[in-house]
């Protein structure tokens, strides 16, 4: 037993867990501090007055009371982004190429997972009264199916649309990837339209996922705000954490992972060392696709509605997260995802109140995108990316 434990290199399991906790707490703390200071300052201005008029509380207490919920929601979203971002970052690390179709791989995962659950619900296997244990088994099944389908799709896409283009000028595979992305969106839509007659799907309700665990409430003006977390948010976070640890272990502590890193470093040399580069690239797509597919199912669980274009915005955000963290860097993708998820949720919740209603949650995408531009201007290699010198 002890030898087995030794052989699984505990360090590689604990390190990412530590990182996740540190990143989550760290970015939560920093952003909370900023928003609290902002609230304190704005409290003295017209913004504070308008909050007082609307909610009968000061801007400061409004902010404080809402903060815990925002942090929980932000972290949930952040882990979804991180899981998608890993797919972008892995492929970028190995091929230096933005897999534009990754957002559709995500959508495929979501659709396969949701369709399986809908079918199960149709056979009355799933219901809200079923035992909690069973509900989790079925959910895990859907998650695995989504992962398998998305992983397979990613590999097929790589084989058909990217591999023939290896060695072509940079724009060529990128344009092909955009083509794949568009093709897949409509292919999903076509298949869904023919088989189900519609292409908006809703994940069925079953088990206790929609329940909310409450930790109490905080007074806000005349009423109060209850603090809590939906069970499905917890599932999303836990599932993402498990996957991220697994991926980290695979890449940093196994032979396959070493081969992946070798190919990322220098494809030609890696192939001279006897590594089957094509095989490793396909594997990278498989792993990235599986993570994306799982993220798709989790996304569907959290946000319930999906359509063939569901991947577009999460994909764009996840890419932003990957760039934010330093593209090609796995830890960076994790940090970028968490930071972006938090930032976006902060913007969605507080922007409206801080701008007295002039600009609300509808600008949260622009907000996330502005972050991307700012990062690219001031830290083009992201928060954790190293500066790679140009070669002349």
């Amino acid at each position: 037993m002890q030898r087995f434990l030794k052989s699984i290199q505990l360090r590689e399991l604990l390190r990412p867990l530590g990182q996740m906790i540190a990143f989550s707490l760290g970015s939560s703390a920093v952003l909370s501090l900023i928003i609290i200071i902002l609230a304190l300052i704005l409290d003295q201005t017209a913004v504070g007055a308008s909050t007082m008029a609307r909610f009968k509380v000061s801007l400061f207490s409004y902010t404080i009371v809402n903060l815990p919920q925002v942090l929980i929601d932000g972290l949930t979203l952040g882990f979804v982004y991180a899981a998608i971002a890993l797919g972008y970052t892995m492929v970028y690390g190995v091929l230096e190429f933005i897999n534009f179709a990754h957002s559709e791989i995500f959508a495929i995962g979501a659709f396969v997972g949701v369709e399986i659950l809908i079918a199960l619900k149709g056979r009355e296997i799933l219901s809200t009264e079923m035992s909690v244990g069973n509900a989790y088994w079925w959910l895990i099944l859907a998650l695995l199916a989504g992962m398998a389908a998305a992983g397979l799709a990613a590999v097929v896409v790589e084989r058909l649309a990217y591999r023939p283009l290896r060695g072509a000028p940079r724009l060529v595979p990128l344009i092909s990837a955009i083509g794949v992305s568009f093709f897949l969106q409509d292919a999903i839509r076509l298949i869904e339209s023919i088989t189900t007659g519609q292409f908006h799907r809703i994940i069925p309700t079953f088990g206790n996922f929609d329940q909310r665990l409450t930790f109490g409430s905080m007074p806000l003006g005349a009423g109060s705000i209850s603090l809590g977390v939906q069970i499905k948010s917890l599932i999303v976070i836990i599932a993402a954490v498990v996957m991220l640890i697994g991926l980290n272990y695979l890449v940093n502590a196994t032979k396959v992972g070493k081969a992946i890193r070798a190919v990322a470093q220098d494809r030609a040399t890696a192939s001279l060392m006897g590594i089957d580069v094509n095989h490793i690239i396909a594997l990278t797509f498989l792993i990235g696709g599986m993570l994306g597919g799982a993220a798709g199912v989790l996304y569907a669980l959290k946000f319930t509605r999906i359509d063939p274009f569901v991947g577009f915005f999460p994909g764009l955000k996840a890419f932003t997260a990957a760039v934010l963290g330093g593209i090609g860097n796995l830890t960076g993708a994790l940090l970028g995802g968490i930071v972006l998820g938090l930032l976006e949720t902060f913007a969605g919740t507080f922007m409206s109140i801080f701008t007295m209603g002039a600009a609300g949650a509808e600008y949260k995408d622009i907000f996330a995108f502005s972050i991307l531009i700012l990062v690219l201007i001031f830290r083009p290699h992201g928060l954790m990316g190293e500066n790679v010198g140009q070669k002349a």
Binding site: E386, Q390, A392
Partner: protein
Amino acid sequence: MALLETIGVTKRFGGLTAVMKMDFKIEQGEILSIIGPNGAGKTTFFNTLTGIYRPEEGKIIFNGHPLIGLRPDQIAALGISRTFQNIRLFGNMTVIENILVGMHTRLKQNPLQVLLRNKAFMEEEQEAEARAAQLMQYVGLTNVGNELARNLPYGAQRRVEIARALAANPTLLLLDEPTAGMNPQETAEAIKLFRRIRDEKGITILLIEHDMRVVMSISERITVMDYGEKIAEGLPEQIRSNQRVIEAYLGRETVSEKG
């Protein structure tokens, strides 16, 4: 006053110091070679001269202008042209167009003239084309003006790169391993060409070279680098007999030549 002078130039990559406190001078009209084993920092030093890298410390003065902080295009406009270790032509442009790109900083046409195609513009274009054709002849290329650069054989591509560098009317020409991959005959022709460039056009030439025959036959002075530092400089004969150089470089070279 030296044409180009560097004082204490240092370039680091993370923990690695690629160029260390380089003091270096090249006089107007010289042909000077920088030699050194692989990884000695020669190309990095070139890249600091041309502005691709910004050194952490030191000064670079060219013709009285400080170069540190200038962009590569600004440095090129001051009169430093270069070729690359692995040829970097514009593959999908014709040979003539490649050379015309080299003239970029010398052409005066402005956007308005481009759109109106006035007389000044047409004349300048014609002159440029004629000059490009002359340059092709000068470096020994015939009847390939309309070929795409990527379709040329290796030796011809090297020549195009030199013609493109000459097109800018440089004062200083930097050649990064210009004879790499050439056969003895091509090498001999290249050496002749470099001499002509210096003798006829008065262009100062600084080259990085591995081939010791080339170095010894063409250089008037040699600077030797090892591990980012200058370890020797002087006339070819001096370098040939310099103990440190033999240890660091020629020693290895002779061994490999025997083997």
